[in-house]
């Protein structure tokens, strides 16, 4: 394993992941420290952010396995988030540096979650993600983001309390906070410890946004600034899904059945409710919940002959994340108010222009799981895992839930095709760059799904 030697402690090495965390923290402090001087600029905070994010990616490339994926993916999401900062719908424009710092805090949270091998570390990651998410949502224009941010915060507090309670029960039972020690919990089957693991998992599930702990996320994703929502959604899922996969595989059978139930209920619930939605942002929020259901299913499904559960889950997050980020990058700058589907009609209030309309088409097709877009490959990977662990019934429910979404995802398609042939557009350079980068990523993932699969593996 690679590492960075610590000059003041001879003989000790710091892992590259920790080095990347340090770099991100330094970047975060730098932005905050300079805030009074650079608060008129949108470029400098974003530039610092992109710099440290790229550094994290470079450090991550030296790592192997999940650590590499975690750093590269988080760094990539951070770059996109910083690019979108230029069109962020902030309540106060001068809060750009704070927003950049909060993005970095969220990124650090995700890295900690992906890397964490200790319940305390995981709790720290969850808290960093939650608080930065709640704050980022509240920074948006108008009353809606404030309300949504507050709800998110309250529900975070409750689920975090659950998580802490679960963690202390685990500690009570095993005398250890290491994730691998959870296996002892499963073997011992002491009720306290079992409930403890369950509660801890529920706390992590909140970041995943699965039923029944999806409420906060649903409202936050609906009302938050489009420029940030994609970021919050993706880093939360990235961190939580991989951490959850690790916890569940550590704890053994105690958690698989509940996670399977959560996954199937979430998929059915979100798909059914999505049919009633008339607002695009709300629809994408429900889509986040439905995809979280798939992630929960992947977490529950353990290893199959073709790959481990963490690999499947990480692969799914990458595919979903690229598409979801692309959707929100295309919507960046559309404010924080309602975004009814009817606004996309020709002559409606939202005119995306050709590049972003095509980006949104691709994103929606991928979210719907249409071949050959990444959403299709990742869905197949999860279904494959579900098939080998749970058999026909669970797979069928998930498959039907996975394909019915096509009806509401494609509702906008004719309107977007009409928009793609028009030339008007109101977009910033940063948002267009982000759209281009993500389109490129989605196309690469579509043509070579094996690439991301290998990246997610060892």
């Amino acid at each position: 394993m690679n590492g960075v030697p610590l000059p003041w402690l001879p003989g000790t090495m710091m892992s590259l992941t920790h080095a990347a965390e340090v770099v991100l923290v330094v970047g975060c402090l730098l932005v905050l420290g300079l805030a009074p001087r650079i608060d008129r600029s949108r470029v400098i905070p974003a530039g610092i952010g992109i710099g440290v994010a790229v550094a994290a990616i470079l450090l991550g490339m030296q790592e192997a396995g999940l650590a590499r994926l975690g750093l590269v993916a988080t760094g990539g999401v951070l770059v996109i988030g910083m690019l979108l900062l230029s069109s962020a719908e902030l309540f106060e424009r001068r809060q750009t540096p704070e927003a950049a710092a909060l993005l970095l805090v969220g990124g650090i949270g995700a890295v900690v979650l992906v890397d964490g091998k200790n319940l305390l570390e995981l709790a720290l990651g969850v808290e960093m993600l939650s608080l930065s998410g709640a704050a980022l949502v509240s920074l948006g224009q108008g009353q809606r983001p404030l309300e949504a941010g507050f709800k998110y915060f309250v529900l975070t507090a409750v689920t975090f309390a659950t998580l802490l309670f679960g963690m202390s029960l685990c500690f009570l039972a095993t005398g250890s906070l290491d994730v691998p020690a959870l296996g002892a919990v499963a073997a011992g089957m002491r009720p306290f410890a079992v409930v403890g693991v369950g509660l801890f998992a529920v706390g992590l599930c909140f970041k995943l946004a699965v039923v029944p702990v999806h409420f906060g996320a649903l409202d936050a994703y609906t009302a938050g600034p489009s420029s940030f929502v994609g970021f919050i959604m993706v880093v939360s899922k990235l961190g939580a899904a991989i951490a959850l996969a690790r916890v569940v595989s550590g704890a053994g059978e105690v958690l698989t059945v509940p996670m399977l139930g959560i996954g199937l209920v979430t998929i059915s619930f979100a798909v059914v409710a999505s049919f009633a939605q008339t607002d695009l942002r709300r629809l994408l929020a429900y889509s986040a919940v439905a995809h979280a259901g798939f992630l929960a299913l992947g977490v529950a499904s353990g290893s199959s002959a073709l790959g481990g559960s963490t690999q499947t889950v990480a692969f799914y997050v990458v595919g979903y994340g690229a598409a979801a980020l692309l959707a929100f990058a295309c919507l960046a700058g559309t404010g924080t108010g309602a975004l009814p589907l009817s606004a996309f009609k020709p002559g409606g209030s939202v005119q995306l222009g050709p590049a972003r309309a095509i980006g949104l088409i691709v994103a929606l097709l991928s979210l719907a799981g249409v071949p050959p877009f990444p959403g299709f490959w990742t869905k197949l990977a999860i279904l494959q895992a579900a098939w080998s662990s749970w058999g026909a019934a669970a797979t069928s429910i998930a498959a039907v839930g996975g394909v019915l979404g096509i009806v509401y995802y494609l509702r906008l398609l004719p309107d977007l095709f009409a928009q793609a042939s028009e030339t008007r557009s109101q977009s910033t350079f940063g948002a267009l760059t982000a759209t281009g980068l993500l389109l490129f990523a989605v196309i690469v993932l579509s043509c070579a799904p094996g690439l991301a699969w290998a990246l997610a593996g060892r």
Partner: protein, 636 residues
């Protein structure tokens, strides 16, 4: 040259790009070259040495049982490609005239190009993954084209209906793709690999049949096809009559060796096909929209093909698919001529007496209708005879009887449409048609190849036996080894024709002469209301999200409690299945430490524990609670 054939799905793409950028100026002026090239390539293959061409790239999708990208062209695929290319060429030329006045005609042709590409991918797919890609893509193309005039509202709803129904089929295919045993998935070897799957051959066969039903509008998934008529008529002719809806039959023919292993699934296919053939035909009788009437006729004819597959006669099914593609596309396109001439009027009650004004359309419609009822010496009768014969030889007797009834119904709906449109009193819309009668050459020209096909395809097959040889080579089928088509109709075929002709002239004409020109039963009984009622469910579920934090908190805490409870319940169920660990043993009381609580519990509780203890249960007689038996190893 023939090695290019598996890549023929790329042929329409250059024209798609041209259309996107608005070239050539006249919409669609170049697009027909794509399908024509596909037709040419397929014909070159058919005239050559007919070697199966395959493309395999291993390791493309490492997380699936079949990790390869496979394309494959055999006889079955080549004929299907020829059908797709041939019908599409005619429809493309027809659409140049039909869409002349539409301002977004370039986009229309781009969508059509996309559809042809997707359809060819579906045909040349060598494994389930690639098939799934084509399968979903044709569904999306169909949605885009049905809802091409989306701003009117109704076409968009129809498009959603089609998407939803097709999605069920996609889900079934997804399950089939992941349910394969590792290393299997190639379509031509399913019969040998699928039985090794965890769920067995039955599950995979069932999945494929569900997928086929969704695409071909069979059984409970019929409802989207009539609604799909909201799209432009060339689309109805190409996608919803000749090619895409036939994809279900094509798939079943291709996997018929697998189906032959599962008799119960074969029965499902027969019952589904028969019920759709009869009910679809009957439903056609009360459609005031004559395009929907033809759509129900398509569903009904596809039902005939399903029956043929179900009785173990894939050749008969595929032969009917080919002839049906020609004459049904022709029927639809001549209906399109009427619609165009009558200013987009599709109500049969406003038509009538059109044979004087639209002579070309009349001739084509008549040929198509005669093919439909199985008139001897037209191609429709050859393929229908093949199905009837197969049903008589291999199916249960009731299948043949039901098909005879089906022939009568076919005659009735064909006759109602023909007489209702072209004979009788002129309706209000007929007057418009009169004004347009002069300049419809662009409409009639592309129908000539289809008409030729509808007449000669049967003779071609009777003379060369090309199709039966090719199908036999692709899907070896014992039951049908010697299937041949003869020019002289069989007695069975003549009987069916007699019934069909009676239905055509007597029932159909009588219906056409009624004031409402059909059965007075309200149409759209189920589909419309059911779907609108279903909207309540999503609204109810979404209503949980009231925005009130209190409620959110309550549900969250309840959920946490449920999950906590689930974790507590799980161990007892899950533990015994853990690998390498014996199931929890019944308590063995070895030492005094273990037995002590038992003794303390006293006499009263003893009987309840006894039966579960391997040592405790008395061999005979009731338990003797008053005298606790000393446990082995216990200190007295």
């Amino acid at each position: 040259m023939t090695t290019l054939l598996p890549w023929c799905f790329l042929f329409p793409l250059p024209f798609l790009v041209l259309n996107v950028f608005g070239f050539p100026k006249k919409p669609g002026a170049a697009s027909f070259v794509g399908p024509l090239a596909i037709l040419a390539a397929a014909l070159v293959w058919l005239l050559g040495d007919r070697q199966t061409v395959s493309v395999v790239h291993e390791g493309w999708i490492p997380f699936l049982p079949d990790s390869a990208f496979r394309l494959s062209v055999d006889g079955l695929a080549a004929v299907m490609l020829a059908v797709v290319g041939g019908v599409a060429s005619c429809v493309f030329v027809y659409a140049i005239a039909y869409m002349k006045e539409d301002e977004r005609a370039h986009r229309f042709f781009a969508f059509l190009d996309f559809f042809v590409a997707a359809m060819c991918l579906l045909v040349v797919a060598g494994n389930l993954t690639v098939l799934l890609a084509g399968w979903t893509a044709v569904g999306i193309a169909s949605f885009l084209l049905i809802s091409f005039w989306w701003q009117r509202g109704e076409p968009l709803q129809a498009g959603f209906l089609a998407l939803g129904a097709n999605a069920i089929g996609d889900a079934a295919l997804l399950v089939a793709a992941v349910a394969m045993p590792v290393g299997a998935g190639a379509l031509d070897s399913l019969a040998t690999t699928a039985p090794h799957a965890t769920g067995g051959a039955t599950l995979i066969a069932l999945c494929l049949v569900i997928a086929a039903c969704a695409k071909s509008a069979q059984g409970p998934l019929w409802f989207w096809l009539p609604a799909a008529m909201a799209g432009p008529t060339p689309v109805s002719a190409l996608i919803h009559a000749a090619t895409m809806v036939a994809a279900g039959v094509y798939l079943l023919v291709r996997v018929s060796p697998l189906l032959a292993l599962t008799p119960e699934i074969m029965t499902v296919v027969v019952v589904t096909g028969l019920s759709t053939a009869l009910l679809g035909g009957l439903a056609s009788l009360w459609q005031t929209n004559f395009k929907r009437g033809i759509a129900y006729s398509t569903a009904s004819q596809l039902g005939w093909m399903f029956v043929a597959v179900g009785v173990g006669a894939p050749f008969a099914a595929f032969f009917h698919l080919v002839t049906h593609a020609a004459f049904k596309a022709m029927l639809f396109l001549s209906a399109g001529t009427i619609i165009h001439a009558a200013h987009h009027e599709e109500d049969i009650r406003k038509m009538g007496g059109l044979r004087k004004h639209l002579k070309g359309a009349h001739a084509f419609f008549l040929i198509g209708s005669l093919c439909l009822i199985g008139t001897p010496f037209l191609s429709g009768s050859f393929s229908k005879d093949a199905i009837l014969e197969a049903a008589q030889h291999h199916g249960a007797p009731w299948v043949s009887w039901a098909l005879m009834v089906g022939a009568l119904v076919t005659g009735a709906y064909a006759g109602r449409l023909y007489f209702g449109l072209f004979h009788g009193v002129e309706g209000s819309a007929s007057k418009h048609a009169h004004e347009h009668a002069g300049h419809l050459g662009g409409f009639d020209l592309p129908l000539i190849p289809l008409a030729v096909g509808a007449v000669v395809l049967g003779y071609f097959e009777a003379g060369t036996h090309l199709l039966s040889t090719l199908v036999g080579k692709s899907v070896l089928h014992a039951a049908e080894a010697g299937a041949e088509v003869h020019i002289m109709p069989t007695a069975l075929g003549l009987g069916a024709f007699a019934l069909g002709a009676a239905g055509f002239v007597v029932v159909g004409r009588w219906l056409a002469q009624r004031p409402e020109k059909g059965l007075p039963v309200p149409g759209g009984l189920l589909a419309g209301t059911l779907v609108s009622e279903l909207k309540v469910l999503p609204q109810g579920v979404a209503a949980i999200h009231s925005g009130r934090v209190g409620r959110y908190l309550l549900i969250t805490m309840l959920g946490v409690a449920v999950v906590g409870g689930l974790t507590l319940r799980t161990p007892s169920a899950a533990l015994p299945q853990r690998a390498g660990e014996a199931p929890p043993r019944p308590k063995k009381e070895r030492g005094a430490k273990d037995i002590a609580p038992r003794i303390r519990e006293g006499v009263k509780k003893q009987p309840r524990i006894r039966p579960t203890s391997p040592f405790g249960a008395p061999v005979d007689g009731p338990p003797r609670p008053q005298k606790p038996r000393p446990e082995p190893g216990a200190q007295p």
